[in-house]
């Protein structure tokens, strides 16, 4: 009885509601709302195409942020470089004349280098390095400069001359020499490149942070003495300006370390380097993560003369050129998470990297070891290559706990522009191992 009653009730509603009387309830507003939903869905794929633009905009912001913070450092270095006077004198005859003085003044702690001169021949090195053609050995130094040199420097030189510590070539680290009879003058053709054999840091003079570029030319004598002078010990400052990132709700901080392969041509001829860095990542949208930071990379690579672009005319082309670059890699990457279950995440991503060249030097090897020619060159000016490298990476991340995770990230860095003095198309492949720290955990109670 009760069941029948319930059935009757059900049928009452079933029959009554299955046949709606008000079919004309269509409202244009409802369609408009649906149309908006459909339009929104259509626009979604477009967002992906906008992402590179958005990320570029973000990168530009970071660049300007970086630019804002770096001028002080750059100026400081430039002043130091301008203050640096390098004198190279190669002599045959006067070595003997000065030998006594050299011996006299030679002290264990060589913080200055006096010069011996070679027949007033001078070479200008990138208009910054001054070669001295001084004839007065008693005064030890006279500075001929194509650029105005401050009296302070000259005075300093004179003063220093009396207490100069002479260093013969054996005391100059890494001085490169070839047994050549060519003279400096021969090598100092107008417009010709000056090859720097030694990036002789003035640290040897007790003045850190200043770079001195010493010309090494093939000479007969080993009695090359170079002089570098710093007017006064510049107070050592840790002028590394930290990038002032505004504190934002960052999601993760990742410390990365990676062995990598670098090559200017095919990866078959690659040399191994290393890469360490720190990245900030922030989740945007649902599965997208944008990350940026800084990596310090040691990038040695081999190249041949065909890929080595220079205005310098080698008399005999080197058979092999070995480059050693130290680069600050500032990437901005966008990663898309394609898998996220349990504690495992897998994502793929791309982005652009800017390279700030911190050090760049080349060694030249000849098929015939007796070939006369430059053996090394250190590029004095570091280059900056913004968004010159495209990054491709795949990341597997395993969350250890709520705060910490481990990641493995195979990556490739493909050149969009030529990098460095030699205009190399430097490509890199590596596998980074990372330690991720979830910054959101800080805000948890």
């Amino acid at each position: 009885m009760k069941e029948n009653n319930d059935k009757e009730l059900d049928n009452l509603f079933k029959n009554g509601l299955e046949d709606p009387v008000d079919q004309s309830g269509y409202l244009e507003d409802d369609w408009d709302a649906l149309e908006k939903m459909l339009d929104k869905q259509k626009r979604r794929p477009g967002l992906i195409f906008w992402l590179p633009v958005l990320s570029s905009a973000a990168a530009i912001l970071i660049f300007f942020g970086w630019w804002f913070f770096t001028p002080a450092v750059v100026t400081h270095n430039q002043i130091k470089q301008q203050q640096t006077v390098a004198v190279i004198n190669v002599t045959k005859n006067r070595v003997a004349n000065n030998a006594d003085k050299i011996a006299e003044n030679k002290k264990p702690a060589n913080d200055n280098v006096a010069s011996l001169k070679k027949e007033n021949s001078s070479v200008s090195l990138h208009n910054k390095i001054l070669l001295n053609g001084n004839t007065d050995t008693k005064k030890e130094l006279a500075v001929n400069s194509s650029k105005p040199v401050s009296p302070r420097i000259i005075n300093g030189l004179s003063q220093t001359a009396n207490r100069s510590k002479l260093v013969n070539v054996q005391d100059i680290p890494k001085m490169n020499m070839n047994s050549s009879t060519e003279t400096l003058a021969n090598n100092s053709r107008p417009g010709a490149e000056t090859l720097v054999a030694t990036n002789y840091d003035v640290l040897a003079n007790g003045i850190p942070g200043s770079n001195q570029y010493v010309v090494s030319t093939p000479v007969e004598s080993k009695d090359i003495v170079s002089n570098s002078y710093k007017p006064a010990p510049v107070k050592t400052e840790n002028t590394v300006t930290k990038l002032g990132f505004v504190k934002r709700p960052q999601l993760a901080l990742t410390f990365l370390g990676a062995p990598e392969l670098n090559s200017a041509g095919s990866l078959g001829n690659a040399k191994s380097g290393t890469n360490v860095g720190l990245l900030f990542s922030a989740g945007i949208f649902n599965k997208l993560t944008v990350s940026t930071g800084a990596n310090y990379s040691v990038k040695p690579y081999n190249t041949d003369i065909a890929d080595y672009h220079t205005t310098y005319k080698f008399k005999t082309n080197p058979s092999d050129i070995e480059a050693d670059c130290r680069v600050l890699d500032m990437p901005i990457n966008l990663d898309y998470q394609i898998y996220n279950k349990h504690k495992n995440k897998f994502s793929i991503g791309t982005g652009l990297s800017s390279y700030i060249m911190l050090h760049e030097s080349y060694n030249y090897y000849y098929s015939d070891p007796t070939t006369k020619g430059p053996v090394a060159f250190t590029v004095p000016q570091s280059g900056k290559y913004f968004f010159g490298i495209m990054n491709l990476q795949a990341t597997y991340q395993r969350q250890i706990n709520s705060k910490v995770g481990l990641s493995i990230e195979p990556y490739m860095k493909l050149p969009l522009t030529s990098i460095g003095y030699s205009q190399a198309k430097l490509q890199t492949a590596g596998v980074a191992v990372g330690l991720n720290w979830n910054l959101n955990s800080l805000t948890k109670p």
Binding site: L9, F13, G16, L17, P20, G25, D30, W31, A33, E35
Partner: protein, 211 residues
């Protein structure tokens, strides 16, 4: 709408043609709204669910098997979207389950003269958990086991919710009867007065003429 016309519209919708989408929307708006209305608490809610349903339809229109009735496919989507909406409000639904149902005596419902709007208003006044189960069981014909699986609840909960839904509906019908009786009595009284008044006058006049 003829079969051929419907297939043309569906083809247009597959190509994401906005005109075809709108024509299909308008053509099946009433049918779809009827389903959404009885699962939803009010018209605004129903319209929201309806649009979510059509959004799914347009997104997955290429999956529609043309050999099967379109209305059945569309109706199933509308019902699923309504259940999704229910799931989204699951917490609220569970709290409603704590209510105790009052036992209402059985009555004869076969002769009740309740129209669509009356019945819809009653169903919509049900708490969501009861309404969903009542719709699925009483109108769409699903078993308690199927409902339990669809709503991720126990079959016992489904039975309980159905019982409570029926009790509430019975109470609403009783209330409606009472109101209708009062209303009807009011009409009778007024009409009686009117009839009496009219009746008096002719009688008076007739009496006067006759007399």
């Amino acid at each position: 709408m003829g079969e051929e016309e419907l297939h043309q519209l569906i083809k247009g919708c597959i190509k994401q043609d906005r005109k075809s989408q709108k024509l299909l929307y308008k053509a099946f708006y009433g049918f779809s709204m009827a389903i959404c209305l009885r699962y939803a608490g009010n018209r605004d809610e129903a319209a929201e669910v309806l649009n979510q349903g059509f959004f799914k339809v347009f997104k997955n229109i290429e999956r529609y098997d043309v050999d099967r009735p379109f209305k059945a496919w569309l109706g199933k989507i509308m019902m699923n979207v309504s259940i999704d909406y229910y799931r989204a409000n699951l917490k609220m639904a569970y709290t409603e389950d704590l209510e105790k149902a009052e036992h209402i005596g059985d009555g004869d419902y076969s002769d009740k003269n309740l129209n669509y709007n009356d019945l819809l208003a009653m169903v919509q006044r049900l708490p969501q958990a009861y309404r969903t189960v009542f719709n699925l069981f009483a109108i769409d014909g699903y078993s308690h086991d199927e409902i339990a699986e669809m709503l991720n609840i126990n079959a016992g909960t489904s039975k309980s919710n159905l019982f409570k839904a029926r009790q509430k509906l019975k109470q609403m019908i009783l209330d409606a009867d009472t109101k209708a009786n009062n209303y009807n009595r009011g009409i009778d009284y007024t009409s009686t007065v009117a009839i009496n008044a009219i009746g008096i006058k002719p009688m008076f006049f007739n009496n006067g003429i006759r007399e």
